[in-house]
Every structure is written in C-alpha cells, then in structure tokens.
C-alpha cells in the first residue's frame, strides 16, 4: 500500500516536471527570440526609393515604374524601415536618419510570354540592376547587383515583381549594424543650444 502510494506520488511529480520543464524552455526561447527581434530589427531608418534609372537601355516606362512601385511594396513588407518614402516626397527633408535607394538597370533582355509558353526554354524576360543604398551624404552602404526574371509562367511585368522582391531580400540581409555605424560616422556632430557638442 505504502509502495503504491510512493509510486503514484513519484509518477505525479514526474508528470508535473514533464509538463513544466519544456514549457519553461519554450518560454525562454520565445523571450530570447522576441528580445533579439526587438533589438536587432527595430526599424530606425527611413528609406526613400528613387525612380529607376534605365541607363542607356531602351527599357519601357511601364517596366521602370513597375520596378519602382514593386520596390516600395516589397520594402514595406520587410518591416526593416520605419517609413518607405517615394521620390520627391517633401517630408524626406525633415527625416533625420534617411537612406536613399538608387536603382540602375544594367542589363535587360526582353522576353515573350508566347515563346515561353510554346518552347518553355526560351523567351525569358531578364532584368539585372545595380542597387545602391546611400546615406544622405552619399556614402554607399549597400551596393549589389540583383537579378529578376520570369522564365516559365507569368507576364513580362512579373519580372519586375521578382526583381523588387530580390532587391528587398538583399537589403534585408544586409548587415544593418554596418548601416548604423556608417550612418553615425556620416552624421555631423550634434550641437547643443549653447553651441557645445
């Protein structure tokens, strides 16, 4: 009788431990995750997206504006920036920590949706752009060449969507600590009201 009581007591303690310990571990992980999330990726910067420069290439205006609009949407989705501003936005001059995104088309291969549908292997629309994230002073923080194409299904304009998504991904993966350091170095020293630093 005594041994059975002891056994049941032992089982109860084991069960409680089994339930409580993983929960505690889980909550710890969540806490760590949330704290790292809040400190590491808290949006502090504002980015202003510039219009796409087609360079010397004969890129349709619809493509240029599609890249621009898709970029705005994809950068908003990353939640990496406090505000994503458009080119020409007058409010940008008032923002203290502003980054400027410049996009220049390097290579463009016009494709054909019909050719893609008929042959599968040819007719891809390909875009290659150079994307630069700069400070207001012109210091380059991110400088990458990004591709975007549509190979099998979808209209030609889909290449612009894929390209914008890849640019946003590249910027998201860029080390924002470098951005912070670069920006701090680039900032002029702030002065108090009496002129002291």
């Amino acid at each position: 009788m005594k041994t059975s009581k002891r056994k049941s007591w032992f089982i109860l303690v084991a069960a409680i431990a089994a339930i409580a310990i993983p929960n505690q571990v889980f909550s710890q992980t969540v806490a760590v995750k949330s704290s790292s999330g809040s400190s590491g990726s808290a949006p502090q910067w504002t980015v202003q997206v510039g219009k796409v420069d087609s360079g010397h290439l004969d890129l349709a205006q619809s493509f240029q504006l599609a890249i621009y609009e898709n970029l705005l949407e994809e950068l908003n989705k990353t939640k990496k920036f406090k505000v994503v501003m458009r080119e020409g936005d007058r409010k940008a001059s008032e923002v203290p920590s502003l980054l400027i995104l410049k996009t220049t088309v390097v290579k463009y291969t016009p494709g054909s949706e019909t050719r893609r549908a008929v042959t599968t292997v040819s007719g891809a629309t390909k875009l290659m752009v150079r994307t630069q994230l700069l400070t207001r002073e012109g210091e380059i923080i991110v400088d990458q060449t990004v591709n975007g194409d549509v190979r099998f299904f979808g209209s030609n304009l889909r290449a612009t969507h894929n390209l914008a998504r890849n640019i946003a991904k590249a910027i998201k993966n860029a080390n924002m600590a470098t951005v912070r350091a670069s920006y701090r170095d680039a900032q002029p020293p702030t002065l108090n009201a009496d002129g002291a630093q």
């Binding site: 349709a60 205006q61 619809s62 609009e69 458009r86 304009l157």
Partner: protein, 198 residues
C-alpha cells in the same frame, strides 16, 4: 475665217474659266489642309468619359490585376470596381503618360493548367494561338506631398489611344514609350529625347 476667230476667242474664254476654277479648287484644297492641320483632336474636354480597363498596379487602395472602369469627369480620374466608387486622382497631378503594347496569353491560370495537362505537347500548339495583344497605359503622377506614383492599366486594343486622346485633351503631357511587348516595332521615346536634351 471669222468663224474660226470666234471659235478661238471662245476657246480662250473657256481656258480662263478653267484656270479660275482650278485656282479656286487649289486654294480650297490648301485651305482645307491648313484647317485640318490646325484642328485639335475631336475630343470634348468637358464630357465625361469611361473605359473598361484592368488595373495592373499602382492605383491607390486597389488590388492588382482587377477589372474595372476608368472614368474621367471634372478633372478627376477615377477607377471604379464593380460600380463602387474607388480612389481618384486629379488629372492635373498626372505628369506623364505612356502608351505601350503587350502580347499576353489569354484565360490565365486555368488555361495554363489545361495546356500543361494536354498530352503530346498539345498545350504548346494551343499557346501559339491563345494570345492576344493589349495596350498598356502608364501614368506617372504626384501626390499631395510631391511623391511620385506610377500606375499601369491594361486596355483592349484601340482603347488606349482613345483614353490617351481624352487625357491629352485635358492637358496631360504624353510620350511614346518603347513597347515592352513582343513583336513590336521600335518607336522613338520622346521622354528619352527630352532627357538627352537636358
């Protein structure tokens, strides 16, 4: 002899008449040509205008790839989806207008899946014929803060030109854009020319 003289006189009178008529006809032709050159496109700049379009991207608070009606009324451009009034922009804020052409496969995803499922590459043969040419109208406008926006609409062939005429009649500047679609003749872009001139 007298008779012959009279006949000659009569002939010279007729020649003068002919010359006068020819001169009058010529002047009439020239004046018509000049009039035709001066006449602006026959678009009533105040009458409301609407056209069925597919919104591809950029219009505020509107889903992409949705059908609707783009209407022009009282200096406002409005996109209506299923008759419901949507967002509207002022025509005065439109800075640029580009017209292009694109060839697309028809019937979307269901057709694509059907073609993929067709045996012996039958879907590829269908693809050869299952495409249609559309016109794309690209608008560049600025919002109240000065931010640049881009909107792209897809229209049936011929309607883009009509819409362009309506907008141009209301003072929107327009440029011919090199087409993004396939099998298109290359057209000179005035936008690029202006950029080069700057």
């Amino acid at each position: 002899m007298n008779r012959l003289f009279a006949l000659r006189n009569h002939q010279s009178g007729s020649f003068t008449g002919h010359a006068l008529i020819s001169l009058w006809a010529l002047s009439l032709c020239c004046s018509t040509g000049a009039f035709a050159q001066k006449t602006p496109p026959s678009v009533n700049a105040t009458a409301p205008f609407s056209v069925r379009v597919t919104h591809l991207l950029g219009w505020p608070n509107t889903k992409t790839n949705c059908n609707g009606t783009l209407s022009i009324q009282d200096n406002l451009l409005q996109f209506r989806q299923k008759g419901r009034p949507g967002a509207q922009i002022s025509i005065a804020s439109v800075q640029n207008l580009f017209l292009g052409e694109e060839s697309k496969q028809i019937a979307g995803l269901p057709m694509t899946l059907g073609k993929a499922a067709a045996p012996y590459g039958g879907g590829r043969v269908v693809s050869l014929f299952a495409h249609k040419k559309y016109e794309t109208l690209t608008l560049e406008y600025v919002d109240s803060d000065g931010g640049v926006h881009g909107v792209i609409f897809q229209l049936s062939k011929g309607q883009g030109e009509m819409l362009k005429d309506e907008l141009v009649a209301r003072g929107v500047p327009w440029s011919v854009s090199p087409d993004s679609g396939e099998d298109q003749p290359t057209r000179q872009s005035t936008a690029e020319v202006t950029r080069e001139n700057k």
